[in-house]
Subunit: 251 residues, 2 copies
């Protein structure tokens, strides 16, 4: 396991996210899955169902990350343009993948047969491999460091499942959370001091208002468990010394 | 009201979104609010709490949209670097805004007073105005076409409220939804044909699996109600003629 940081980016493709109609679930789901693979989600872009926007985002992000994922736009309808846009981004053609065609033929055998529209879902950028989809017919697509996934979250989840353990990564980021009924502004200096005293650690401060009271959760992140634990111990001691009760695991 | 399309972009700033710890709510909330103002959310980027990443995203997006919003990173703690990063992006200094200082002095009068950490929340890029925050102390910030909002969704909502009606926009995008218990692949050609027959209309197709059955909602969007209605009428007629029962309002 190497010590270098492996990164991924995500391009969420879909007018339905940008219109506010649909609440995205894939950013959180893919972020959590990537972390288990030892890969950090470094950036996300949400773009419209527009070829130029997809091409720009995919080309910018695949170049500077180890992996680039996309979600959405791989169905059979006119607004599903992801495969064509990515082929343009890569400067390759679009071909019908014989294995994808066979998968779809089997899937649609008892569902009215493989029509021209359904065959659209067997189209891939030249040179691509398939990512199995156990939920519905159409597979995901891998081409180079690009992973083209479905947008419907439970189908996305199935494709991630199929990819589990297949991508090289580094150490997962480990996190521990503690909480306090305190306004974060009261402990801001303490938090900054604690982070500086523990190299390799990031402390995130997440304020909330609940039951009419102000509180904050502090998430301590690092790739080494001992480093996380030492920082949590130090932070707990400092908060306690300042008179604040600490709730292990967060509030 | 002009016929040109007004666009906005959003930069979501926050390691907690990229780690998968927190489910973003602001994309959907801001998208829906923008649409009522007659402004289209054209693109979103989620970036880490890292100055270079914020600067790059803000500078790219403010240049090519009428408005650019940011959420997150304006609290009092060490990981709140949005104001400093945006000042770098704009090439201006950071100053304490006297009105923001007065607001915070009042807010913290009965809460232990204005400490150095809390005063951080009065810092703004030079030349900025404030956006009122009725939920908690620290105000949002407007500078040029940039709108710097809080990341906690109900505080973001209060700031949007304060901005309602103050931004120039065009016609809101109107949408009507109809649904069918049909696999979208069965009607893909019909959908594409219908969209092409109605210039200015976009039809989105959103498949789902529910109660063990396959269905899809079709969202018809345009800026003119008569155009939307004509397209919905045509689409309903075509789906009915093909033997599919249409559910007005979607399933």
């Amino acid at each position: 396991m190497s010590d270098r940081i492996w990164t991924a980016a995500l391009v969420v493709i879909g007018d339905e996210i940008l219109s506010g109609r649909t609440q995205d679930k894939n950013v959180a789901q893919i972020a959590a899955w990537l972390n288990v693979q030892g890969i950090r989600l470094a950036e996300v872009r949400v773009v419209a169902d527009v070829e130029g926007a997809i091409v720009e985002a995919v080309n910018a992000l695949r170049a500077r990350n180890d992996y680039c994922f996309t979600t959405g736009g791989i169905g059979p309808t006119h607004d599903d343009i992801t495969v064509d846009a990515i082929a343009v981004a890569l400067g390759v053609g679009v071909v019908v993948h014989p294995e994808a065609r066979a998968v779809l033929e089997r899937y649609y055998e008892a569902r009215g047969g493989l029509t021209e529209a359904r065959l659209r879902m067997a189209r891939v950028p030249e040179g691509a491999e398939l990512i199995p989809n156990r939920m519905s017919g159409a597979p995901g697509i891998r081409v180079g460091n690009l992973f083209i996934l479905a947008g419907v979250p439970h189908i996305t989840a199935g494709m991630l499942d199929a990819l589990t353990g297949t991508l090289e990564g580094g150490r997962p980021v480990l996190a521990r959370t503690i909480g306090c009924w305190v306004a974060e502004s009261e402990v801001a200096t303490l938090l900054g001091d604690t982070e500086r005293a523990h190299p390799g650690v990031a402390i995130g401060s997440y304020p909330f208002f609940r039951e009419g009271r102000t509180g904050a959760n502090f998430v301590v992140r690092a790739t080494d468990q001992a480093v996380v634990d030492a920082c949590v111990g130090d932070l707990t001691a400092r908060l306690s010394a300042a008179g604040f009760a600490v709730v292990e695991g967060g509030i």
